[in-house]
């Protein structure tokens, strides 16, 4: 096809689009393929078909990186100004940005890359999206059909590589199937339990031409029918268990927000007076200031929450998957409780925890079914017990209201990561979208930033992908430009994808970047402290000057070393317009995230921060021990994790 002809086609298509799919703004509503297709359909190249399909699926932004095998599509993109392409600095950034975009909006995020190394660079982001059920579509170029299997230049079997980390994937084998493959990819990514779908398109197929037809009827796949309503008898059985329970706890996961079931969850817990515990990705399922919400569960969840789960007589798991980080030792997990599990993915039911009632369905539908019948009843005794546990947690709290006495573990002048997050929470009124990286700062975010709305915390929970924070924040901000977006990253993870600072600058994306710099791979250091006798192997880091690094990209930067400086820095950051801005918080190096359930331990066997009294007691014991010198040649006895923590002196 000559260039002239391509241009004519693009024009005639542009006309179609005016009457049909419209511009990018309105495209979302047109997503289900309602665009008017003229009877005299036009001939398009495969590359143009890719662009047409993206438009019809409501795509406005593509995150990607060009290369040989995808060049025809990049060339076609020049004729589709409605598709804004964001040039990342690494394909991993593209898949994380698409993921951040998807999580911020619930819309499908799109990443594009070339074959071989381009495609393999996407992999971490795809696996991240898979673990957290995030809807993204990745489009990769592939070597020409005839060269497949010959180890051609930049050939990689990317459908093979991504087979276990995609919800589904396609190697397009004919131009006549291209449009249908892409249409299915979007359908599969966004429906049911969402997830990543990859479409691998050989270069020759991008170049060939065919008549472009975009079917208007909904996608039907014989082997793919996401469930909707729960089975009536199971709903009935669940209601019965709820009626009989005295100490119920709702475990709310990511599924609540993904199913837009937030209002239904609030109504259920209010009506039946059931405390709601959140998973990490469940934050935002219900406002954390809601009286029924008791907070986060699991490895670094509230001690009172874990106690409540262990003491419950009924667990109602909604859109969560009993990950090992929330159950601890399965053999002792919530022994005395009956269990209801509602999930859209039937394979999650009875996977890790055997349940009494499993309901497969869309959470919103199932909650509505429950709400039709659930009875009002008080539950004060149970809430009182949880409040007692909470009071004990509060004793140990280090981030205290200004009028409360300081915990003796916190000495004057120390800047703690936890304080940074708490102040940020207060200064932003809890209204920001926060995007974290992975490590201690991520857990402090989860503990000290209370989220009220769905999709307001974006974090890599399932895969725990360092390097996720900055690119995902860029994607989230581009998806919701009117929203205040903070990337909260550690000094380690930030350096895994800090090249995306350039992307943020080039795109003038105003993300506020908070680098929590503790000079350590802090979370790993914490494990070494607890479980490897304080051998800090390969966790201290010599870091660059993060402010200068930012400045090298033309990004203004502020350094904060004392708590008193946080307010000004945060306010200045929020006031800054036009592009990214970075704040480096130089925090205490050897902090601990408390409480902690050691991996594999019982959920209520937590390493706690000592209470002020315990703390002072230990301080005295230490001083006494110093006075009487110990036998120096004695081998230190190996100690159990909890014991190690118990003797620990510090925050």
């Amino acid at each position: 096809m000559t260039e002239d002809k391509a241009a004519t086609n693009a024009e005639s298509l542009a006309k179609t689009l005016e009457t049909g799919a419209g511009g990018s703004a309105g495209a979302c509503e047109q997503a289900s393929g309602e665009a008017d297709i003229p009877a005299d359909a036009v001939m398009l190249t495969g590359a143009e078909i890719v662009c047409e399909c993206l438009l019809r699926e409501g795509v406005d932004i593509v995150f990607g990186y060009p290369g040989g095998a995808i060049l025809p599509t990049y060339d076609a993109l020049t004729r589709y100004p409605q598709l804004h392409h964001v040039l990342t600095r690494h394909e991993q950034g593209a898949s994380h940005m698409a993921d951040g975009y998807a999580r911020a909006t619930g819309k499908v995020g799109v990443a594009m890359a070339t074959s071989g190394p381009g495609a393999t660079n996407l992999v971490t982001g795809i696996a991240t999206a898979m673990m957290d059920s995030s809807p993204i579509v990745c489009i990769t170029g592939q070597v020409p059909t005839g060269a497949i299997g010959t180890d051609a230049f930049q050939e990689t079997d990317v459908t093979g590589i991504t087979l276990p980390i995609t919800k589904h994937n396609y190697l397009v084998t004919s131009i006549d199937e291209l449009a249908e493959d892409i249409r299915e990819a979007f359908h599969i990514a966004r429906t049911g339990r969402p997830g990543p779908v990859l479409v691998d398109i050989p270069k020759d197929i991008q170049i060939q031409t065919t008549e472009f037809v975009y079917p208007t009827e909904p996608v039907t796949l014989p082997g793919y029918k996401p469930p909707r309503r729960g089975r009536a008898d199971q709903v009935e059985a669940a209601l019965e268990l709820i009626r009989e329970s005295r100490r119920p706890v709702i475990l709310a996961g990511h599924g609540i927000s993904m199913a837009n079931a937030n209002a239904e969850l609030a109504e259920l817990c209010e009506r039946a007076q059931i405390p709601v515990a959140l998973t990490l990705l469940g934050k935002g399922a219900i406002s954390e200031r809601h009286p029924m919400c008791v907070g986060m569960m699991g490895m670094h969840g509230g001690a009172e929450v874990n106690h409540a789960i262990q003491q419950a007589d009924l667990l109602i798991a909604l859109g969560m998957r009993f990950d090992d980080r929330v159950t601890g030792n399965l053999a002792t997990y919530a022994k005395g409780s009956r269990k209801i599990h509602v999930d859209i993915d039937s394979s999650e039911i009875n996977k890790n925890v055997r349940v009494d009632v499993g309901i497969v369905g869309d959470l919103r539908e199932v909650l509505r079914q429950l709400l039709d019948r659930v009875e009002r009843r008080p539950n004060d005794a149970w809430f009182d017990r949880i409040a007692e546990w909470r009071a004990d947690s509060e004793l140990r709290e280090i981030v205290r209201p200004a009028d409360a006495p300081r915990h003796p573990a916190v000495s004057e002048g120390k800047l703690l990561g936890a304080q940074v997050i708490r102040d940020l929470f207060e200064l932003t009124g809890g209204n920001a979208v926060t995007v974290t990286d992975v490590g201690q700062h991520q857990m402090w975010e989860a503990q000290y930033y209370q989220h009220e709305r769905p999709h307001s915390l974006i974090t890599s929970g399932g895969l725990g992908t360092m390097g996720f924070g900055l690119p995902a924040a860029i994607g989230a901000k581009m998806a919701r430009p009117d929203q205040e977006v903070w990337a909260i990253v550690g000094d380690g993870g930030f350096q895994m994808t800090s090249m995306e600072l350039a992307t943020a600058v080039q795109e003038k994306v105003k993300v506020n970047i908070a680098v929590i710099n503790n000079g350590f791979l802090g979370m790993v250091r914490q494990w070494q402290e607890f479980f490897y006798e304080e051998r800090y192997n390969q966790t201290p880091m010599v870091n660059p000057d993060f402010c200068k690094l930012a400045e090298a990209y033309g990004i203004p930067a502020i350094r904060v070393t004392e708590r008193g400086q946080i307010e000004d820095a945060v306010n200045a950051t929020r006031a800054q317009a036009g592009g990214p801005i970075l704040v480096e918080f130089v925090v205490e190096k050897e902090e601990i995230v408390f409480p902690m359930v050691p991996a594999g331990a019982d959920l209520d066997d937590m390493i706690r921060r000592p209470t002020p009294e315990e703390f002072e007691q230990k301080r005295r014991e230490r001083a006494a021990a110093k006075a009487t010198p110990a036998e120096t040649d004695a081998e230190p006895e190996p100690v159990a994790p909890a014991a190690v923590a118990g003797t620990r002196f510090g925050v």
């Binding site: 459908t159 093979g160 087979l163 276990p164 919800k167 589904h168 190697l171 084998t173 004919s174 006549d176 199937e177 249908e180 599969i188 079917p215 996608v219 039907t220 796949l221 014989p222 082997g223 793919y224 029918k225 993915d345 039937s346 394979s347 039911i349 009875n350 996977k351």
Partner: protein, 181 residues
């Protein structure tokens, strides 16, 4: 622990066999045998999966199979009367002295001799897995030169059929689609 036989109808799309076998590895399912072949429907293939496991594990496999987009229907044939057959080709050492004995054994088992050479016979035997097991044990003393089994294929009895969910190839999938096999 018991033997579970699952039958799955799958769309005849590229990579579907890889998807299913990857699932076994990815979720640590221990499979005794897997056999794949065409059906009366051009676009559908049928897999028979045999696994030794408890019921919960078999149930977990069924659910995970359903998660694959290309899998149209799965049945646990254990739950209904069904027939199952395995087939083997066995090359047995047979000299002029003992050939008669081997042939007699084949007759008893209704096995067919499909190749005769100076020093060996190729025997085709069909039946339930157990029968094939007995047969091979009995011919082993003669010397088994080589053997191949197809793996079990199975089907519900009578009116029980694998539902194809009103399957229509959803887009006149062209012949350019490579087959599963």
């Amino acid at each position: 622990m018991a033997k579970h036989i699952l039958a799955a109808l799958v769309e005849n799309r590229p990579g579907v066999l890889a998807r299913v076998s990857n699932l076994f590895r990815r979720r640590s399912f221990n499979i005794d045998s897997l056999s794949v072949g065409r059906t009366q429907r051009e676009n559908l293939s049928r897999m028979t999966i045999v696994m030794e496991s408890d019921a919960a594990e078999a149930d977990r496999l069924v659910k995970n199979l359903y998660k694959l987009v290309d899998v149209v229907h799965v049945d646990h044939l254990h739950n209904q009367p069904s027939v199952a057959r395995d087939m083997a080709l066995v090359k047995v050492k047979a000299s002029s002295e003992n050939r008669r004995e081997v042939i007699q054994l084949c007759d008893i088992f209704r096995a067919r001799i499909i190749d005769v050479a100076a020093e060996s016979l190729v025997v085709e035997i069909t039946g339930e897995e157990e029968k094939l097991g007995h047969f091979t044990e009995l011919v082993r003393p003669f010397g088994i030169v080589e053997m191949v089994r197809t793996g079990v294929i199975a089907m519900g009895r009578g009116s029980h059929t694998l539902k194809d969910q009103g399957y229509k190839p959803n887009r006149g999938r062209s012949s350019s689609r490579r087959s599963v096999l």
